[in-house]
Amino acid sequence: MSLMTDDVINFTSMLRMSYDFLHSGRKFNIKSNRKGKKLISVVFPFSDLVFAAKAIPIFPIRLEKFKVNTYLEALNSASGLFGWKAVSNFLGFIRKFDFLKVFDGIIDDVINSLNYKYNKMYDLGIEEGVSNDFCYGIKALYGMHSSRHNNLDANLNVIIRCSAFNKYYESLKRFNDNLIWLDIPPRNIGNALEICTENVKDTASQLEKLTGNSITDNDLRKQFRISNECRELYREIIYEISNSDFYPCNPATFSEILALLSISFQDFNSNAETYLKNFRNLVKEMKERIRKKIGMDVSNRPRILLTPRFGGWEPESHNLIYKMGGRLLYADWEILGALENIEVYAYSDPIEAYAKFLMDITTKGIGCDNNALTDSYIRVARKMDVDGLIFIELFGCHSISNCYTMLRQKVRKELEIPTTALTFNKIGENIEQVKIRLGAFMEMFN
């Protein structure tokens, strides 16, 4: 049985977010479900402009059909009739009698089917000609596009410092000529912010042209307010809830929630308003459970930060760390600067505010050099007050996850906490080795 099922069955917001993540994307494969809106693929949490253009952003794996859909479909139908809260209570009730074994598997299925699909997309990427030498993320993303490009109207390509990724963007031309680019100047020098603002304007007009909708300042402000609130809630989970001595669920579930948030944060499950509502509920439920002491005392468990996760990582890690007496935390978007707020003032230019947000991410987070990036790792680890740090050396990554030598030195000098590196190639490939490495690492806390 899943480590998480007991926790999640009464955790409505989590169930809802998982449902939305796995299910709400697939329906967009059918054109009539898009209600005349354009479907635009996004990666990284840069979907604000797409929402403002009244289009649908989608992280393309969400167009895939997941095995668990039959269970979740039933839940969704029930939720349509009785509401999510009632469904969740009902599930909790049924679980007590344990005669519907099927529910034991729901969350396991969510996680497993996602991982299974990721690996499938990875294999497809390789089949379609991506060299084995590239990172897990690029191979899987290429596979996703190869699988679902017919359903997409365009791809939003936001330039980052990773040259492999920029080349990957270009390679998508093979599937879809409609590539909408957003260039971010690599450094904030001279009037680079002005240039970035013009770039954002260009991208916005390409989106307007594609969708036939104009993007007004108010559309942007409204969207930024929504996404800012999501960012604030996200930071609250990372810095406050994850730092507390009592967790609203067991620590492995907590890691699972952090992972789900980080994956779904890229396209806000294609519906920013619902996503925000779920996010609010999630934080509320978490706090309530902590207040009522529903969950788990984790005061004696060391907090371990694992990063980077977004290009690919072994999801089994948090179960292993849990079994070894720790709690594993994920905070990639905060490290990469994507959880900073976008300035929203009634009389300022929102396009410029968005440009500033992107420039800050480029210079302080994802950065143009490893110095800035490693400083960011240190900043977040310090602020989260973690006890240890696990760094993922992702095979084939030449950008974000190749600065371990530099990071290790900074951690030693500035944080003085244990650190280790795990190599990663494909989900499920190296679990035994991961177990051994994590075991040795966790020894340091005994």
Binding site: R174, I189, D369, F395, G396, S399
Partner: protein, 378 residues
């Protein structure tokens, strides 16, 4: 392949320049570095275009994962091992950290940090657009400021224009060798030496570019080499020649991609009174074949290869030309589009071979077998 004597000569050359008070500014970046500004500042640009071997790659892997491109690993390795013939690396005063690719950023940063070389940043936009050009100009301004700070005085526009003319003449001269009736390895050697010496090569060497009219390469199995450059010390071109082939055209950065970046004389004359940054920015704008930029790299590449093949047919009467796409293992720029490039060229009925390799000695045998089999097909 260049011999030991060349390295000694080059060391002497740099030493003499340094003794004259010139600073040596090195960089890994393959393209878009405004060496005209370095020259106008009175400094010497030093391109790090040296290939590697097992030992250098291993030493590089002390700093970056082994899944980093072999060229980048080896370049770090060079600074770590400092083999005797490379002692000219000790003469470097500054290193440019640039973003030709992300391996360029990471390895240059490591070289500066761990081998104590002051860095100068110069970043290039990824998208060639009006705004990209505006940004490139900003970097030029910053770069000039930095060079002025180092030399302690300002660089005049006149000096920059002079350097632009000097480099333009240099590129034009060297670019003539592309249709010359000499072997691919001889061409490569000239390109490599020219890149290291810069315009000085026209003064230093008895550089006489003449075609004697005998088309000796006609009897060979001719191939165009595209993709990653063959760096100094790499014997790939010899392997091709030993297999009975000849690289008739080097469509790589150490080759025609760099040397075809020329400006027409009358255009340049008209620009002389203008801001030299406009000229340098225009040069970046025209550099459409660079593998750095997106989103049209592939289209331009295909177009260029087709035009090279047509020109070779027309100028030298050579048909049946194969294409070898050279990919240094883990190269971001060349590895990802390799299958698409091959498909598109094959659709035009060209013979194409993708060779992906690192600098490990052990892979040589397999490499020559594959190349020989390919040459057989032509």
């Amino acid at each position: 392949m260049v011999d030991l004597e060349f390295f000694l000569e080059y060391y002497e050359f740099l030493k003499q320049e340094k003794e004259k008070g010139k600073k040596i500014i090195a960089y890994m970046s393959h393209d878009n570095i405004p060496e005209e500004l370095i020259d106008a500042a009175g400094f010497i640009p030093l391109r790090l275009i040296f290939s590697g071997n097992d030992e250098l790659m291993d030493r590089g892997a002390d700093y970056l994962p082994t899944s980093t491109c072999s060229f980048a690993l080896s370049t770090i390795g060079l600074f770590s091992v400092k083999p005797n013939k490379y002692r000219f690396l000790d003469l470097i005063d500054y290193l440019i950290v640039s973003n030709h690719c992300v391996s360029d950023i990471c390895s240059s940063e490591i070289i500066c940090k761990y081998f104590d070389i002051p860095r100068i940043d110069f970043y290039v936009p990824y998208i060639l657009s009006e705004n990209g050009l505006k940004y490139y100009r900003l970097e030029l301004i910053e770069f000039k400021k930095k060079l002025e700070e180092i030399r302690g005085s300002s660089i005049s526009n006149e000096d920059i224009i002079n350097s632009i003319e000097k480099y333009n003449k240099f590129r034009k001269n060297i670019s003539k060798i592309k249709y010359l009736d000499i072997s691919g390895s001889d061409k490569l050697e000239l390109y490599q030496k020219a890149l290291l010496y810069g315009p000085k090569i026209l003064e230093l060497r008895d550089f006489n570019i003449n075609n004697d009219g005998q088309i000796k390469i006609k009897n060979k199995k001719n191939v165009i080499l595209t993709g990653c450059s063959i760096f100094l010390g790499d014997d790939l071109i010899e392997i091709i020649e030993e297999g009975g082939g000849n690289v008739i055209f080097l469509d790589t950065w150490v080759g025609d991609v760099y040397f075809s970046q020329t400006l027409e004389d009358n255009w340049l004359d008209q620009q002389k009174e203008n801001d030299p940054f406009d000229i340098l920015t225009e040069m970046f704008n025209r550099n459409t074949y660079t593998d750095h930029v997106v989103p049209n790299f592939m289209e331009y590449k295909i177009k260029k290869i087709v035009s090279i093949i047509n020109n070779l047919k027309e100028k030298l009467g050579i048909s049946n030309i194969g294409v070898i796409n050279h990919i240094i293992k883990f190269c971001d720029h060349m590895s990802l589009p390799r299958e698409q490039l091959k498909e598109k060229l094959q659709a035009k009925n060209y013979f194409v071979l993708n060779i992906e390799r690192d600098y490990a000695r052990a892979s040589h045998g397999q490499l020559s077998t594959r190349i020989e089999a390919f040459l057989e097909m032509i």
